[in-house]
């Protein structure tokens, strides 16, 4: 196989590219579908044409976004096969199930009822239409549930065992997929979609206020967007806190990378902002940061909800000091020993395979016993040095800060918007605040994407934590093929994104200039 690492790197870039593009559209679908459903519910309860108009306006924008979300989502499912074929075999027995369930349970629900949403106004009853709108929103969230369960399993593989005959992992406990990691990840991602959609609705509505068009329509929309968004943001923060605890216990190396922390301590402070030292490595004496503004006890509280607790750094973990699933500090084995035991696991599997081919059951049993002892470190057997097991620190560190700082900003933003709405309605007159709201829209996407970069870059080099590194997960392809498809995806998705943004802006502009107080304007 030609130049393994080139194929690995380009496969990673391609997956990152397609996933980032997909996540531009998914959170808006998740949040806007709920906002549209709330508006339609108010319409059905009040029979007010104003709420029907609001429902249809936001539904149009939802539809534009939904289409491109579907387009970019298709790629991700099939990329597991096309670019990560070894992964698909090695853990397909576990990972494939949530994907199939997602299709059967969620995709059909979305695709069936979204047609009723858009084309069913005069074909079905109002109650049925409202049900279809809610089912579309619920379908989108159920879809997120299954894919995030699958993703969480990659970060914390539970409920499986290795089958040496098939040379793959098999599922032994379906419910283990719903670990704390999965639950936090699901709610964190879905509620962040609500928060994002809230900012989007407020931003677009503030544009109408800014140009002094449809102000009553904008005010109604802002109220629904702000309350939904604030609820989403608060729940995102709560589940984000839960995720930090889970990461500490299940992926301590990721937490250390998020913090740029090489040597941990008890009562560990948190870097609020700073610059990591690019020359720092786990085994030199350079400073960790070029400068850092720290919050005392912050990381201990974040990681363990205990200001006196110990948080291990990258060097600690490599040397065998870590935190177990209960949050206790433990002396585990070093990364050097993990690599050695991983190679022993590989060797035992080789012996098993030879014994199986020869029909030697005694030798098979002996090899299997040796394999089981070392299997927890199987993935480390692909590494030649401990440096390969460290995630990119800089990207993870900065992405984490971008996410947290922007997340905190949006909490302030929502509070200000709600004050502006209910306290003498000053939001409707404060043009500076309207400009801030409009400019905040793209920042919300930056925040959302940064969260995924923390989650996915921070778990490198693993495809499946401790079991399968990315270098062993790929397809046997020439690098030129993957490079070509990377640029094809980049080109097509960019072309479609430009069209999507342009259509959105045109729709907002055209409809803002119409009278949106009645639904008959469409």
């Amino acid at each position: 196989m030609e130049d393994l690492m080139t194929v690995v790197d380009w496969s990673r870039w391609q997956f990152a590219l397609t996933a980032i593009y997909h996540w531009l559209f998914v959170p808006l679908t998740l949040g806007l579908s709920v906002i549209v459903a709330i508006m339609e519910t108010i319409y059905v309860r009040t029979n007010s044409p104003k709420w029907l108009a609001a429902t249809k306006f936001w539904m149009t924008l939802f539809g534009i976004n939904f289409a491109i979300g579907v387009a970019t989502g298709l790629v991700l499912e099939f990329e597991f096969g096309t670019n990560w074929s070894n992964y698909s075999w090695f853990v397909g027995d576990i990972f494939g199930a949530p994907l199939a369930i997602e299709g059967i349970v969620a995709f059909f629900m979305e695709s069936t009822f979204v047609a009723v949403m858009f084309f069913g106004w005069d074909k079905v009853s109002r109650g049925f239409h409202l049900t279809a709108t809610w089912l579309t929103a619920i379908g989108a969230s159920i879809s997120a549930l299954w894919i995030l369960v699958a993703n969480a399993w990659m970060q914390y593989p539970a409920g499986t065992e290795f089958d040496p005959v098939q040379m793959r992992n098999i599922m032994t406990d379906f419910w283990a997929l719903f670990s704390g990691v999965a639950v936090n990840k699901f709610f964190h991602a879905v509620f962040s979609g609500w928060a994002l959609a809230g900012v989007f609705v407020i931003g677009v509505s503030c544009w109408m206020l800014f140009i002094n068009r449809n102000t009553a329509f904008a005010q109604r929309s802002i109220k629904v967007g702000a309350w939904t968004g604030l609820a989403g943001l608060l729940l995102t923060m709560y589940t984000g806190d839960g995720s930090a605890v889970e990461v500490t216990r299940c992926q301590p190396m990721k937490l250390a990378a998020m913090e740029g922390l090489y040597h941990g301590s008890s009562e560990q402070s948190l870097v609020a902002f700073g610059l990591v030292n690019p020359d720092k490595s786990w085994n030199n004496t350079e400073d960790e940061y070029l400068f850092a503004f720290e919050i005392p006890y912050g990381l201990s509280i974040l990681a363990n909800h205990d200001m006196h607790s110990f948080v291990p750094g990258i060097a600690d973990i490599i040397n065998g000091v870590s935190v177990n699933a209960q949050g206790d500090t433990i002396n585990t084995i070093s990364y050097a020993e993990r690599i050695a035991r991983g190679k022993q696991a590989h060797e035992a599997l080789r012996r098993f395979d030879i014994a199986r081919a020869n029909g030697d059951k005694t030798a098979m049993a002996a090899a299997q016993q040796a394999l089981q002892a070392d299997y927890p470190y199987f993935g480390y057997g692909y590494f030649d040095s401990v440096d390969e097991a460290i995630p990119p620190v800089g990207v993870t560190f900065y992405s984490f800060r971008i996410m947290v700082i922007l997340g905190s900003y949006f909490l302030l933003f929502y509070v200000l918007v709600l004050i502006g709405v209910y306290y003498r309605e000053w939001l409707y007159r404060a043009r500076w605040m309207q400009v801030v709201a409009i400019l905040s829209v793209p920042l919300m996407w930056v925040c959302s994407e940064a969260g995924w970069i923390v989650a996915e870059v921070g778990r490198q080099p693993w495809t499946v934590q401790d079991l399968l590194p990315t270098r062993a997960a790929i397809s046997s392809l020439p690098a030129s093929s993957v490079i070509t498809t990377f640029w094809l995806f980049a080109g097509i998705f960019t072309i479609l994104l430009i069209a999507e943004v342009s259509i959105m802006m045109h729709q907002i502009s055209i409809r803002s200039s119409q009278d949106l107080e009645t639904a008959n304007t469409y």
Binding site: M1, T60, I64, A67, A71, L74, F80, G81, S85, N86, S88, W89, F90, G92, D93, G96, A97, L99, A100, E102, I104, F107, M109, S111, T112, F113, V114, A115, V116, F118, F119, G120, K123, V124, F128, V165, Q166, M167, I170, M171, F174, L349, R350, D353, R356, A357, I474, S475, S476, L477, P478, S481, T485, L488, I492, E500, S502, I503, H506, Q507
Partner: protein
Amino acid sequence: MTLEYLQNYWWLLVSILGGILVFLLFVQGGQSMLLSTRSAERRELIVNSLGRKWELTFTTLVVFGGAAFASFPLFYSTSFGGAYWLWLIILFSFILQAVSYEFRNKRGNIYGTGTYDLFLFLNGLIGCVLLGVAVGMFFFGGEFTVSRGSLLDNTAPVISNWAPSHGFEAMADWRNLVLGIAVFFLARTLACLYMINNIDNYPYRDSLRQRCLIYGGCFLIFFLWFLGVLLTTTGYAYTTDDFGNTTIIPIGCKYFYNYIDLWWAGLTLLIGVGLTLFGWISTVMRRNYTYGIWPTGFGVFLVVASLFWVAGYNDTAFYPSTIDPDSSLTIRNASSSHFTLTVMSYVSLLIPVVVLYIAYVWHCMDRRKISIDELRTADHKY
């Protein structure tokens, strides 16, 4: 339930999904007729008629992939990672389709309605032909090897390896192309039948009937050609020893014998062909008959399901390797574990619920046929 039972059950579900997918390709068939439709009014009718169903085809494709992944991961791993260019071209065509309906008529779409119609046409053409090529590989095989021991090769740790052409060789195999072209004409025939049923416009229905005659005739020629090749081609039977090692035995006219041995599959094929012809001929011959999509659609579903059955049942390798027969995939060596198949089988009990609500929504939405008048006053149209 035994593992063998579950493997057979999941192959049945994959077959059913395959059958539904091919039926729903009427969307692609209709799209492929867009550029040859001069009248702007008729184009609008085509797009808006198909546009209310495109997501079902798209979703069925995704679920087919997901079901294959969950139930036969070695197939997913080998085929998608190996026939890379075949699958990627199919995917690119579906990406273009997914945005085109929503974007084509919206102001600010930058590239113009014609570009999105071209995208729809490309998806209609490429999607049908290449999905046919992909299914053809279930019978005529692919150039791959599977070696699980490669997992431990640190320099190239990939268990499935494919010929350097990575799918182009499958696209160049005339037998696969015969099936692909048959699928293409079938999709166009189905599209004509669907639109005759769904569009309330008599002059256009007459035009569709004429097209239906031509496309159906072309489909018959290519389908019979494919069937002739299939029934005379050499397939692979297999045996498995106690240690899980598979031995492959080539057998001439394997699929013909499968249809004889699996008499119910043969009967399904005959009933399917009969229904397909009945719907098609009735539509072409009777001017007021608009329901041809249903007997033909169900017939197509039966034919495709029966093809999957003879591909995978009766100890047949469903994905033959032409360069290393022992690497061929069977429903025994490519499947998920007993536990996963059991869990997934419980989930599959939801499928009838899904089918029922889709049928109900379809009925509600199509109760009133689409017309130009409706499009003129519609809130939302493509």
